[in-house]
């Protein structure tokens, strides 16, 4: 397959692996956060760790849209489907996430709610056209990549006079979340991982461009390399980060130049700005309240805003206390550090969000690296026993 196979080529990967091993200083550790769940998935799906030396670490960030949606918002979506009787449409992964009482949208569907998986906001519009007597709500989640399609849906609905369509907007933004992780007032500094740089999101950057990351280099002295989602992209970007660290440079570099420009997709940005505005604050699962990190629908489009259209009840949604998703999403803990991992929490029966989405760190460790992870967990337990004795 053209434009795919060449980015998964073994000879090139081995050659990049050798270059990384030659560049990495054995006397130090390199901790790079891949913000985006797409990168986490690529790293595990292709076993990129096996091709880089042991002192180059990938710290998995919170860039998985399904993982960071707080339980309360999911409970709201379930309420829309059950109590308000709407046709609730969403992307596939979202349907399996457990909300309060482990109830998911899929379970709500089994109990009789009209929940439908769609591949695109345009499918949701089609459902709205086909059911003029029903209210159709699209559960919009995701970063800057999925926001433009939601904006297009609202613009189209207005142009067509489609009054029975609305968006339950949960769109979030990448740069404020990265800033929040770096400032992380709630993280115990003793626990925190020292991050040496970031693998910047690829598809998000195709929309917003590389410019919004420049503050990371300027204000926080952290190098950023925007990387594509193929394994060779990740490896090349890692090499670029190692060079920056070794040379003491802090730049925003663009490995994904075949797609990403400094300015991004201005047309998409304009449409998003026309329909959405920034919320003062938004709760992220794992990160807590993050100021100016999410979007809401502008008042002039309130007719298409599910939050304005439907009276949602106040909820107190509680996470499972043992679930380490919050710390895992910040890169502070690893899935193996969670008591639930692989026992109460598996992809078949997920407790936390990181296990539900294929882009979540827990699902990646369980699905692709279970053997090694279980061995590490056994070793940790043995070490703890020795320490206790």
């Amino acid at each position: 397959m053209k434009y795919v196979d060449e980015f998964r080529d073994r000879a090139r990967a081995e050659s990049l692996g050798r270059a990384i091993a030659a560049a990495a200083d054995p006397a130090r550790q390199y901790n790079f956060m891949e913000f985006c769940g797409g990168h986490t998935h690529a790293i595990f799906r292709y076993g990129v760790q096996d091709l880089v030396p042991g002192n180059v670490h990938f710290v998995h960030g919170p860039g998985c849209p399904v993982c960071i949606l707080p339980m309360r918002r999911l409970d709201d979506a379930i309420e829309l489907a059950e109590a308000h009787g709407v046709i609730l449409c969403s992307y596939g992964d979202m349907l399996r996430v457990p909300g309060s009482g482990r109830k998911s949208l899929l379970k709500a569907k089994a109990d009789g709610a009209d929940v439908r998986m769609v591949y695109s906001t345009l499918d949701a519009l089609e459902i709205a056209r086909a059911h003029p007597d029903r209210e159709v709500v699209f559960l919009g989640i995701g970063f800057e990549t999925t926001t433009p399609p939601s904006a297009v849906a609202i613009a189209t609905a207005r142009a067509e006079g489609l009054r029975n369509f609305s968006l339950f907007c949960n769109h979030v933004m990448t740069p404020p979340a990265i800033r929040h992780i770096l400032e992380a007032p709630d993280i115990d500094p003793a626990q925190a991982v020292r991050l040496d740089g970031f693998l910047g999101p690829s598809h998000v950057s195709s929309v917003i461009g590389s410019r919004p990351y420049e503050f990371l280099a300027e204000r926080y002295a952290k190098p950023v390399v925007i990387a594509g989602f193929e394994p060779l992209d990740v490896m090349q970007a890692t090499l670029m980060l190692i060079h920056q660290v070794n040379e003491g440079r802090v730049n925003v570099e663009n490995q994904y130049a075949r797609v990403v420009t400094r300015e991004g997709n201005v047309k998409a940005q304009d449409l998003v700005a026309q329909i959405f505005e920034v919320r003062d604050t938004f709760e992220w699962r794992g990160l807590g309240s993050v100021p100016e990190s999410a979007l809401r629908i502008r008042p002039e489009y309130a007719a298409y805003d599910a939050e304005a259209k439907f009276q949602l009840t106040e909820k107190e949604s509680r996470e499972n206390k043992a679930c380490e998703c919050p710390a895992i999403l910040r890169g502070v803990k690893k899935p193996k550090d969670c008591k639930l991992f692989g026992k109460a929490c598996t992809p078949e029966s997920p407790m936390g969000a990181c296990m539900v989405s294929s882009e979540g760190a827990c699902a990646a460790y369980w699905t692709y690296r279970r053997m090694e992870t279980l061995a590490e967990m056994a070793a940790d337990r043995a070490a703890a026993k020795v320490a206790a004795a």
Binding site: E14, Y368, R370
Partner: protein, 338 residues
């Protein structure tokens, strides 16, 4: 084109003349064979001495007609292949229909014709059957359950108990065709493709396989859940591990492209005309050569080896040379594919 017009009515399942007419005009016409001609409640079959394999399979595929097949041919292939995976030569099939009131008779005729043709091609008679009609809205067109019996040749003993480390793992051709063909025709997902289902009877190829290597350890058709589910089942049941090579696993470029686009893994996609074969390493080349001689074995390849270490784990050297575990599919990727 069928000359039949009109729709299935409740009376077609009522036991009266309408039912007899339906059976005579559609099923008996397309399935004609001496066993069915006995016309009893149960058909008598002369069985040679030896071990008999028996299996059953319900088919609820949606859509009923898809590129490369339909529910009729699929219902024959599904059961014939289940028998073949025991190394058995199919002797006879049965077919039970649950038909929804209002289902076009022309479609039923088309399905029965396709079943008859598939059974003849597989060399197995449909020996008896049953027809029920349910009210409109209580079914979804037609569901077909087929059962089958087959004769296992002397000396053939196929099953997970035969698995051990150091064996060769073969696949009879490119994976994922059936699932992607069905998916591409689902409402709301049409994405114009030329991919055809691989639905096919594997019994002729299996007959040659067991004739050449009667001591073959394992045959299994990777249907629902795809290659990953099949191999994980085998690893658990046989208490072995496996190490595969991603680059050796055949996937058609159009299937790979559809999977990329939809975020699916070809390893999880269903097949209806492929088999996994696990054998002693010295038999691998012989078996691959046999598969390559059959149309349904084009593209057969050795994809890995079993290991005595890491029982229960299927691992794979990835395209770039890393390693990873191949897991079961969690949740449901696509309902009603067979």
């Amino acid at each position: 084109m069928s000359r039949l017009t009109g729709n299935v009515e409740m009376a077609h399942g009522g036991g009266g003349r309408a039912m007899v007419g339906l059976i005579r005009n559609i099923f008996a016409r397309h399935f004609a064979n001496p066993l069915l001609a006995q016309g009893h409640d149960a058909t008598a079959i002369a069985v040679p001495a030896g071990r008999i394999a028996v299996t059953t399979d319900a088919h609820v595929v949606s859509p009923l007609f898809f590129a490369g097949g339909d529910i009729g041919s699929l219902a024959v292939h599904g059961t014939v292949n289940d028998l073949a995976m025991a190394g058995a030569r199919p002797l006879a099939l049965t077919a039970a229909y649950i038909i929804e009131e209002g289902f076009p008779l022309a479609d039923l005729d088309r399905i029965a014709a396709s079943m008859g043709a598939a059974a003849r091609a597989a060399g197995v008679p449909i020996a008896t059957g049953d027809t029920k009609v349910v009210e409109r809205g209580k079914g979804d067109g037609v569901f077909i359950t087929t059962s089958g019996i087959g004769l296992i040749p002397d000396g053939v003993d196929i099953g997970p108990h035969r698995l051990a480390g150091g064996m060769a793992v073969l696949i009879s051709g490119p994976i994922g065709d059936h699932g992607i063909a069905i998916l591409s025709q689902r409402q709301g997902l049409d994405f114009g493709t030329t991919i055809q289902s691989d639905s096919a009877a594997l019994c002729h190829m299996v007959a040659d396989i067991v004739a050449a290597v009667p001591g073959i350890a394992l045959l299994r058709d990777p249907t629902r859940g795809g290659l990953s589910a099949t191999l994980n089942e085998l690893a658990e049941a046989g208490r072995i591990g496996m190490m595969l090579d991603e680059r050796a696993i055949p996937v058609r470029p159009e299937v790979a492209a559809a999977c990329e686009l939809l975020g699916l893994d070809p390893l999880h996609i269903a097949n209806e005309g492929k088999l996994v074969c696990i054998c002693a390493p010295q038999d691998a080349d012989t078996l691959l050569a046999i598969m390559h001689r059959h149309p349904e074995g084009q593209g057969a390849a050795k994809i890995g080896e079993t290991t005595a270490q890491n029982p229960g784990f299927i691992r794979m050297i990835t395209a770039i040379g890393g390693t990873r575990v191949i897991d079961w599919l969690s949740g449901e990727q696509l309902p009603r594919i067979c």
